[in-house]
Amino acid sequence: MAVQAEMPRRPRSAAGLDLLRPGQWLGWVSEHRYWAYFLIIPSILFIFAIIIYPTANGIILSFREMRLTRPDLGTGFIGLRHYADMLDDPVFWVALINTLKWVVMSVTLEFALGLAAALALNRDLPGIRLISVLILLPWFLPNVVAGNIWALMLDPRLGVLNDIFIKLGFLSEGKAWFADPDTALLIAVIVEGWHGYPFFALLFLAALKGIPKDLYKAAAVDGAGTLQAFWQITLPGLKMIIVAVVILRVIGLVNSPELLLILTGGGPGNATQVLSLYAFHSAYLLFDFGYAGALSVVMFVILMVFCVIYLRVSRLTAD
């Protein structure tokens, strides 16, 4: 009698699926409630690769010795030494205070100019589209181009602005605005204000278009003047966009050293040194990536604290 050979048992899951047939268990997963999680795995991996890993790596870097030109020092963990060095580093404190001044003054100026431009553009006047494009032009210019244009216009010998000021009698000779520590940061803020205000104007204008005109008509019937309508209708209508725009702009300004790099290079004598520029110099002039990482972590913490405070304030306001 022939004996039928017994087939080897294939491994199966608790649900009875053949584990050697991926198509079968993938099909099972696709009908399961975990399917949604499965689908977002690529996104999570992507976010991990481009956000979480670099951030974590940057933070870890700040606790390491990482001077690329000094391989003899190794790359070991040095604890909080970079942070301790920072406390003793006078340039760090100057850069921290300058960062604060730079951000507060720039955002204030951009906010004011942007709001004024948005209110002016939110009218049905002839040629308003052309004016809108012209007002937005500075935003289209890269920082490098904007910086060089202004550096030339403010040049003490060739600059058209100095020439105008001399002809108007405000100056007796061409002034080197960026060579004077009393004016360098202020002028850089004005350049930044010119370059950045269209961002505010654009978003404020979009928000203004969303405020119903009936509200203004009703306010007028109730006897409200222009100023009252602005305080009672326009500003509350812009509140959420103001929060969002200010946060985005603060993040942008804290992180971007390009304009100051072109206009002043942080000088004269660190008078316009800001944290982002100092981190850039530490990394790419001194090749001290560990210290640059620690400076970046400080910027990161400042931005986080600022965001949390601002969001809480805006939530309270909304309530």
């Binding site: 000094r70 000779e173 004269p268 004598g269």
Partner: protein, 417 residues
Amino acid sequence: MADPLTASRRRFLQAAGATLTAGMAARTLPAWAAGNVTYWHHFTSQTEFDGLEQVMGDFAKAFPDVTVQQENIPNAEFMAKFTSAVIADARADTSMVTSDRLPDMVALDGLVDLTDRIQAWDKLPFFSDAAWSGITIDEKMYGIPAFSFVSWAYYRKDWFDEAGLAPPETFEDFVEAAVKLTDPSKNRYGFGLRGGDGGQSMLLDVFDAYGALIYENNSISVDVPKAVEAVTFYSDLFTKLKVAQPSAPGDSYRQIMEGFRTGQTAMVWHHTGSLTEISDALSEGQFATTLRPAGPSAQIARVSYLYNGIMSDRNLEDSWSWIAHWGQVDAAIAMLQATGYFPATTEVADDARITSNDLYRAAIDSLAIGTPMPKVVGLSGWMRNSMLPEFQKVLVGSATPEQAVDAMAKNLERTVR
């Protein structure tokens, strides 16, 4: 009957799996190919680009099977790009190299050791020991000299003649001439002081003229009393004597050259690289060239060579052909004619086109006593990140020379050691 949604999910999974498999199976194509050589440089002016174009044209005739792809990287960002490329292993084949950056580039492991090739190269004897020493670290050679920059001073010959002054030979002569030729009412200043970006090189020369830096065993330290003297001398030109232009603390190359070209300054320090620009703006007899004045400790005539090195060994033969081409007579003459840059090879340095030109006399004299830039790891970063800003503070009155030197020395301790 199959649920259409489920079927669709399965098809999606099959498609995703197939795509993933295909992606994993696909071989990443190299970004380079044999016969192509990428070249990073930081040329900026039109004349430099004209010279580069001629050199590339000559190379294309000599090596028709090799194509050079040049990429311009702004000088200020060059090391940032270089560092990122080394870290990410996205190197160019070849790159421009300067002596002051060489220690950092080698420490970053960014250049290929070319010692054996250079030692076997038939053009080796045509370059001076000084030229080779600028590209050598620990007896390893990392590039080939392309052309040279010889530091010198430009002065307004017509103004000097008018005032009965001779070109300054010492710092005392220099100050005397600067004071005599300064007349703010005419917007005329004795010296175009470079206090902005790039000014650190001139400051280093002043430090060395005072013997304020001590170089030992590939390291460096500050002689504080001498450094204070050096900073005091150099800053006094602006703060006390007021013989430098009011914009000095922020002025970089463009501003000091503009000041000299437009008749606002009587003297300016630079190197042979700017001769073409000055010659285009001022006529013969209006200006002349001379050696930099001697300081209390030394007369500094910096001779720096610009080199080309190889960053990656993936295309070594073609890369070598390209950088070696820069050492040929035709390439050197092409650059000289386009830019006025001095040849690095002695094969052409005695050429009548150079020796017969009086303006080049100062360069030839400088070559005789010329010293290369010191090669210390971290020096260039310290010069830009500490030396210059601290000096700027003295210029704008927010620090004394003593305070500035103290901060420089403290930073040097951390940076270099």
